[in-house]
Symmetry: C2
Subunit: 164 residues, 2 copies
């Protein structure tokens, strides 16, 4: 059960520019309403009639649901096979188009950074740029995520510019 | 049901520096596991024994759950009484400490930006800086959110530096 196991991909196994294609998920009315009730209870995420009158013009998923579903797609496509030690944070999330009832989202993540930690030589930091799209190949969300990944060999010398 | 109704606070009613105190929520084992199963199925969010061996040292909430719960606290304390037209995105999310089973999170948001939209004079953009803390008053997460808010009077001249 320990995620940091030898058969998972470690920091040394990752390459700059690697593109990770995601699976896909169709966002149903029930999913939209269930998520919104718990976290983002706005009329345009809860009620079809109110949603029609809103800026979005119909029942739309919470943008935070799109983010959470994107995380899940990253897990299925990548992180579940990586010696991940947890997330550090993310930056520059942009919602570009609403995700409406019945839309199917997919996308990819590209490895845009690989740095060793100076203070913790057993840890590396991978930066992932997400490009999430709908079934018409229109971008709906982008985000940059930073995640800790264990090194297979923490004694290897640090090359490149390390993180703190 | 339309969120943009006269009795809600509009863009003109918001003030730079306003601090919005949040309510609080206790993160239970069941909440952690339910969220993680759907969005972030890592052993350290799903299994107490595996979690003890991880970097986090025990069952910890997904950081994305902390973000979603913070959004909910913002809704209850602020957005549900504001003529919000939806979120634009956020930046600089940082997870500072893990949120463990049984922790209670609370915090506040501070209005750090108020800009009119140049292309859509009926819209304003409010920037909110979140400071989320646990029951020991330790910071656990920060994030900056940008949200659209309707103007009460879109014909008012734009002062200050507008957004695009």
């Amino acid at each position: 059960m320990n995620p940091v196991t030898a058969d998972r991909r470690h920091f040394e196994d990752l390459a700059m520019g690697e593109v990770i294609p995601f699976g896909k998920v169709t966002v149903t009315k029930d999913m939209i309403i269930e998520f919104a009730r718990e976290f983002d209870p706005f009329p345009f995420h809860l009620d079809e009639e109110a949603a029609k009158k809103s800026l979005l013009g119909g029942l739309a998923s919470s943008g935070w649901q799109t983010a959470a579903l994107s995380l899940r797609m990253l897990g299925d496509a990548f992180l579940n096979n990586v010696a991940s030690m947890g997330g550090l944070g993310f930056s520059d999330l942009k919602w570009k188009k609403p995700v409406m009832k019945g839309d199917t989202i997919t996308g990819s993540a590209t490895i845009s950074g690989l740095r060793r930690s100076k203070s913790h030589p057993e840890r590396g930091i991978v930066t992932l740029d997400f490009d999430i799209r709908n079934q018409r190949d229109e971008p709906v969300m982008s985000i940059r995520l930073a995640n800790l990944v264990a090194l297979r060999d923490p004694t290897a010398p640090i090359t490149g510019e390390p993180a703190e």
